[in-house]
Symmetry: C2
Subunit: 331 residues, 2 copies
Amino acid sequence: MGARILLDHGEGGAASARLVSEVFLRWLGAPPVLEDAAVVPGAPRLAISTDSFVVRPPFFPGGNIGKLAVCGTVNDLAMMGATPRYLTCAFILEEGLELDELDKIVAAMAATAAEAGVTVVAGDTKVVGRGEVDGVFINTTGVGFVPQDVTLSAGACQPGDRVLVSGPIGDHGTAVMLAREGFGIQSDLVSCCQPLADLAAVVLEVAPGLRCMRDPTRGGLATTLLELCEASSVGIVLSEAALPIRRQVRAATDLLGLDPLYVACEGRLIAVVPDHQADAALAAMRAHPRGVGAAIVGAVVEAPAKLVLETGMGGRRPLVALEGAQLPRIC
Amino acid sequence: MGARILLDHGEGGAASARLVSEVFLRWLGAPPVLEDAAVVPGAPRLAISTDSFVVRPPFFPGGNIGKLAVCGTVNDLAMMGATPRYLTCAFILEEGLELDELDKIVAAMAATAAEAGVTVVAGDTKVVGRGEVDGVFINTTGVGFVPQDVTLSAGACQPGDRVLVSGPIGDHGTAVMLAREGFGIQSDLVSCCQPLADLAAVVLEVAPGLRCMRDPTRGGLATTLLELCEASSVGIVLSEAALPIRRQVRAATDLLGLDPLYVACEGRLIAVVPDHQADAALAAMRAHPRGVGAAIVGAVVEAPAKLVLETGMGGRRPLVALEGAQLPRIC
């Protein structure tokens, strides 16, 4: 049996110091002296975002909680047009967690941070007793630099704009659900979990009129678009035929009575762009390895229309806010 | 029975939106539009720090987990000579938590953030099932602005320097332990939990030669000073007679076989200053409402000496790193 996390690993003494140096600093890089806060170069405009990750199981096809924790926060910065620069990681560990498991999670964080171009500058570890937390929870907080002329906002969408999505929706939520519950379904589906700052930068470059970007995580595409409708006082008409949804996601969600429009993505972005820049944005997304499955999926319309799905038969189904959880602990 | 947290409150849908607006934004302030990241003015040098808080019980004499979560992170920024500016808050809530309890915690965060001069710019809420987390855990991450000419470091201490502490040690850890365990001990002791940026700024002003500051949280004064010894390759001689320790802390730790030198403070700072600025730093601390109990407690000496306590009888007791926990879940 391998080594496990003990309460002592969280108490700031010698055991804590060993865990920090042997796991965290080994993967994430060691400063010459550990201070109370990192002091780093800044910029005139900052983007700041925070997220905690409680996904169960912590390992799933296409990723683990460490990779997810980096992508989730880095992507929130990127959606505001920021270049992600700094990341903090705070771990809450359950007594008894296998050290090997933690090591794999931290290794994935390091690899994903490198891929995303962010530096992990600060961290924290707490250990709580058995049954006081479920395995490992991670908080990441990110700081990015925002160029002076970039002002994206959920409140900036205008009637006539087009809505793009960078690839198939629902992959992450479905992959995690299948990993957790099984249901006897065999599937080769993997989470879409990936950092998106490079893809976002490409969109911003070819579509300077870009209104806003969002990554449709909890609540999926429909919930995210509803937020845009609300913030911009507009409606959005989605074309069912245009929505990229994988066969495996359709099959699994059909079987379980879930709507893929509400299932979380962790590696897709939504962009709302002026009509005349939509084709350029689409072409740029498709030319990027993280956006090959991109599509124009809808159009912004005048209020009082809200979010509507145009079905193949010419029907229109209103998409409303779900009260709560389709799938708990998906991120 | 009052309202309680449900899994739905964490899933990004309508229930989440209500919780965010009725509890978090009501206390912490609402931006016109909720974006994926806050975009805020920056500065050339930033301090960044993160901490998760898992204190049990969440309410204790002198504070609660919300007040503690703001103080802990703001103080880490202040110890680097930064002016704390922005704070993020991420909550992990257990299904069944009373909404009234959460409301009190968030209200305390808002009040403490105002006292500390920081703006809460981003947040996150996750809800997990009963037994998957113990009540409420909070992560805060802070960003501060660091003046160009300030370069404090744990590695900057030099033989001859003086070590100051801003008030009685061990109050926080002892107060939390008594609130949790009881032991039948009646005590009027309260946690020292308070934001320290204003006190730190005063010290920096009167003692421009300041080497470093630290807030002795987990592991207490002894553990923190051991870190300074290590980082600066020096020793520190503490005077037992000079150490400010409250009667109630002595009594409770004596009874329980704990050493107050290793018990957490959450509202005290340690400053290491050149000998010729020590009296000015002490006078400035004592003149400040957060530093009335300040004392000069030790001196930096040449290595290979490590941390040593000079007792009243002329004896010398080496203080070593504890392996692990005296008191788990104290912050």
